[in-house]
């Protein structure tokens, strides 16, 4: 069944069950991926997936939901029946409605449609990439984590009031994580990820170069003394921190009492005036962009922090109603609708007079710790308390020289971190999770082995 046929089928089955109000979200995907091990194909994968999530409203306007991969006529009927049963347990304390924006026009990025290149080509490309990476330095002995994949998918949202949206797109990803070994030294590992609309769009050479350079740059390592240091976050690591604490801007988290913000936090100064943060799912560099969210609300650019002050929260339909505003295009589709950011863009505001602009990661000669990549986010972040303690890959810069840090964690508090930004470099970098410049923090605790 195609998406129009599914909508018709749900409509018919809902009529039969006397369900007047319903909506659904569906996704259909075909994915292909390869992994290699020293020139040999290791695992080749293909998958065809379909997922349908149906919500129904009962006569008391309570919502029930069911998710299924069975998109047959009988599967759809069963899903509607189960959702109807679940609606007896719908949340009486917080109602859910259709998004008032579910029929608004959407902006779909014009992306040239990519066709599958096929498993054989994926395998050839990945084999060549592995060889090049292994040959790039004598210490690189293996590429234990690698993969090249391409996905083709369609997403649909429709409801009983006639809203219908769908879009289809393709996406490809390459990841290469190399492992370097030298005599009497610990193995070191680093890597790179690149995305594209299709496998042919991926900048393979730069992925190889980046994985190689990063790995090699960690070969000369040393432990670091436990102390407080001036910190420079790479664009990627700063975006990791902001995403980990995005509950600060999340209306769902605020209502649930698990955010550091509250309903009255709009306008609150939480950072240097030089900081602006946007959520911009439709940004031209965001390869994973989606034109609408789980409730059919169009995706849009939203300012989260302007001049260091909280400007907006991200919303679903129900949180927007509670906050007396409009949905922002950040909802999932679930029994309890989740809210999450799309693609964070960090930039320096015009009000940047209090920055120490001499702090530039490529020229500064004083001592500082450069945090390249943060790890174990799920374990080391306490979003509801604002604290973090995270292992990282990075370097200690001292007198113009850099040395890789053997094993260390950085710990702190997000409120302290944002208030102690001492420089936001001018040039932004595009990463897989957003855009950010390098960000300098006055002082954070580093725990090392020395």
């Amino acid at each position: 069944m195609n998406s129009r046929e599914i909508t018709t089928q749900i409509s018919k089955a809902a009529d039969f069950l006397n369900l007047k109000k319903w909506d659904y979200g569906a996704s259909f995907s075909n994915d292909y991926s390869v992994q290699v091990d020293k020139g040999e194909a290791k695992q080749l994968k293909a998958s065809q997936k379909q997922i349908l999530t149906i919500r129904v409203w009962n006569q008391s306007n309570l919502v029930g939901i069911t998710t299924t991969s069975d998109i047959s006529e009988s599967g759809i009927k069963k899903a509607l029946k189960q959702a109807n049963i679940a609606s007896d347990f719908g949340n009486k304390n917080e109602s859910t409605e259709f998004s008032p924006l579910a029929k608004d026009p959407i902006k779909v990025k014009e992306v040239k449609k990519r066709n599958p290149v096929g498993i054989k080509k994926l395998l050839t490309v990945l084999r060549e990439a592995e060889v090049k990476l292994l040959e790039s330095h004598e210490s690189i002995k293996s590429v234990p984590y690698n993969g090249l994949s391409e996905s083709f998918f369609e997403r649909v949202y429709a409801n009983s009031e006639g809203a219908f949206r769908s879009y289809s797109k393709s996406q490809a990803a390459l990841y290469l994580y190399a492992r370097a070994e030298e005599k009497n030294k610990k193995p070191r590992s680093s890597g790179s990820v690149k995305l594209g609309y299709g496998a042919d769009d991926i900048d393979i050479e730069s992925c190889i170069k980046e994985a190689s350079n990063k790995t090699i740059s960690h070969l000369n390592y040393s432990s670091i003394k436990t102390d407080k240091y001036l910190i420079c976050f790479s664009p990627e690591s700063f975006l990791t921190i902001i995403n980990a604490f995005s509950s600060m801007f999340n209306a769902r988290s605020i209502i649930d009492g698990v955010s550091l913000s509250n309903k009255n936090s709009i306008g609150e100064k939480i950072s240097t005036e030089a900081l602006n943060i946007y959520d911009d799912g439709l940004h031209e560099k965001n390869i994973s962009s989606t034109p609408f969210d789980g409730e059919g609300t169009p995706t849009k650019r939203l300012c989260l922090i302007k001049g260091g002050r909280i400007e907006n929260f991200i919303h679903s339909e129900s949180t927007a109603r509670i906050f007396k505003t409009t949905p922002t295009g950040h909802a999932g589709l679930g029994s309890k609708v989740s809210v999450s950011p799309d693609w964070i863009v960090v930039e320096k505001s015009d009000e940047n007079f209090d920055l120490k602009t001499s702090l530039d990661h490529s020229t500064y000669e004083g001592e500082f710790v450069y945090i390249e990549e943060l790890n174990a986010i799920h374990a080391g972040v306490r979003a509801s308390q604002g604290s973090f303690s995270l292992p990282f890959d990075g370097w200690l810069y001292k007198k113009g020289k850099k040395i890789s840090i053997e094993s260390a964690t950085v710990a702190g508090d997000i409120k302290y971190l944002l208030k102690n930004i001492v420089n936001i470099e001018s040039s932004q970098e595009v990463t897989t999770s957003g855009i950010s410049p390098h960000i300098w923090i006055n002082e954070l605790s580093i725990t090392g082995d020395a």
Partner: protein, 473 residues
């Protein structure tokens, strides 16, 4: 109900599918595959969330699909699909054959499927024995009410999920089995707040194959435990970073062994060349006080199985005996590529993942000391009463958050501390586990890795690590 409507040329749960499965396997072998495996599942899941004094989410789901894996030499091709018709499964076989570029005429012999091993016979009634949504909701609401012990508790949550998975596994070595798996898990969470101070507490409980377990769950005890933990940590200071001896509590304290060492004993890590223990079989890799086990047979434990996802009954594997490495955790691909015999550990989240060598119930065996012996032996250190999550990096370095910690001074527990993380490498830390307590207990968890998220049990008695890096402020 898990049974589907009967259609011709389609997999039907609860019926004999032998002829159809044989036809599909014959087809794959006929096209030149060395080995063909078909994993088919039908799921019926539901979850319930209670927040404060309301049920805020009830989420049923159901689905079905097949994962088909073909080996040619040491290479494998894996195709997953929601189409369980003969046509759909044949198409998946063809796709896997094409991916592997199989053209040679040499054919393996397939003598048909063996007698059906049906592990599901006594389990078909489970779906009618598990608690109803109504019953679950009532108990969760009582539980969240029990958490309301003072006005410092600002959020209270109770969550329940039930996964019922019916599987059929057939392969060209004759394997033909069916099983039904039931997993239930329930958790409580609170956040406490007072002025600028914040803390949280959580506990999760889980079982497999025990439909009545949620009814027996002692929610009062759980609520008291979570409340007490959050109150103890509310005004805690941040821990000072440094190297120090630590005592890790039993139950979920075992997550460190699971993450830091257990994963390195999976044959997938040998395949990748990412374990330092690859050539250490029968060598000392841990302190002589350490014996570690991985098994899938403890009745009711979250990681227990009647049969793994490749159709093999799980065994009890002694991984480390008195500090000596004795065995790796292996699946079919692991045996083929590394030579380590299968241990009934081929596991996957669902049909869309190929099975891989994964842990089941993994724990350090009990020793002879009391918890007090361990604490008394430390003049200055850290007691980790409750562990949060953790991870292990590509070079074996691990890090774990300590959810509830206390300083040890002169052999006594003193003030609570927060913000601690334990950092190290298995190879260096395992020899430093110098004392094991006599109070082994297990705890359920979810493990995410190459073949998705699977239910596991971690565990240990109280253990003492002579020295480890503690991250803090």
């Amino acid at each position: 109900m898990l049974s589907s409507q009967i259609k011709s040329n389609e997999i039907v749960f609860g019926s004999c599918n032998k002829d159809l499965l044989e036809e599909i396997i014959f087809y794959g072998i006929g096209l030149g595959a060395d080995f063909v495996e078909i994993f088919i599942e039908n799921t019926d899941n539901s979850s319930v969330l209670a927040e404060e004094d309301f049920i805020t989410s009830v989420s049923p789901s159901f689905g079905r699909g097949a994962g088909i894996r073909i080996f040619k030499g040491k290479k494998d091709g894996f195709v997953s699909t929601n189409d369980l018709t003969k046509h759909g499964l044949m198409r998946s076989i063809s796709q896997a054959i094409e991916m592997l570029d199989i053209t040679e005429n040499k054919r393996e012999v397939f003598n048909g499927l063996n007698k059906h091993r049906d592990y599901s016979l006594s389990k078909k009634k489970w779906i009618n024995e598990v608690p109803s949504i109504h019953e679950i909701s009532e108990k969760l609401l009582v539980s969240t009410k029990s958490l309301k012990k003072n006005n410092k508790i600002i959020t209270r949550k109770g969550s329940y999920s039930r996964n019922l998975q019916e599987v059929i596994i057939a392969s060209s070595d004759g394997t033909y089995v069916s099983d039904i798996r039931l997993h239930q898990t329930v958790g409580l969470n609170v956040i406490a707040s007072d002025a600028q101070y914040r803390s949280s507490g959580s506990r999760r409980f889980g079982s497999s194959g025990m439909p009545n377990e949620f009814r027996l769950w002692d929610h009062e005890k759980a609520a008291n435990d979570v409340f007490e933990s959050s109150m103890n940590m509310l005004y805690a200071d941040y821990v000072d970073a440094g190297q120090m001896p630590v005592v890790l509590a039993n139950k979920f304290g075992g997550v460190i062994f699971h993450e830091a060492c257990g994963h390195l004993l999976e044959t997938t890590q040998i395949e990748r060349g990412t374990t330092p223990f690859e050539n250490k079989l029968n060598e000392k890799i841990a302190h002589e006080s350490v014996t570690a086990i991985d098994e899938g047979i403890s009745e009711g434990s979250f990681g227990s199985l009647s049969v793994d996802d490749e159709g093999m009954e799980p065994e009890k594997s002694v991984l480390i005996k008195d500090g000596i490495l004795k065995k790796f955790i292996s699946d079919r691909a692991g045996e083929l590529r590394t030579g380590h015999k299968r241990t009934g550990s081929g596991r996957r989240q669902n049909y869309s993942f190929a099975a891989a060598s994964r842990m089941r119930n993994t724990y350090i065996a009990k020793g002879e000391h009391s918890k007090e012996d361990l604490i008394n032996s430390i003049s200055e250190g850290l007691y980790c009463k409750s562990m949060g999550g953790g991870s292990v990096g590509a070079t074996g370095q691990f890090n774990f958050a300590v959810e509830e910690g206390y300083l040890i001074k002169n052999g006594k527990l003193t003030s609570p501390v927060k913000g601690a993380t334990l950092i190290g490498e298995a190879k260096e830390v395992m020899p430093k586990i110098s004392m094991c307590g006599n109070d082994l207990e297990l705890a359920p968890g979810f493990c995410g890795s190459i073949s998705g998220s699977v239910n596991v049990t971690v565990g240990q008695p109280h253990i003492k690590v002579n020295s480890i890096t503690v991250g803090g402020r």
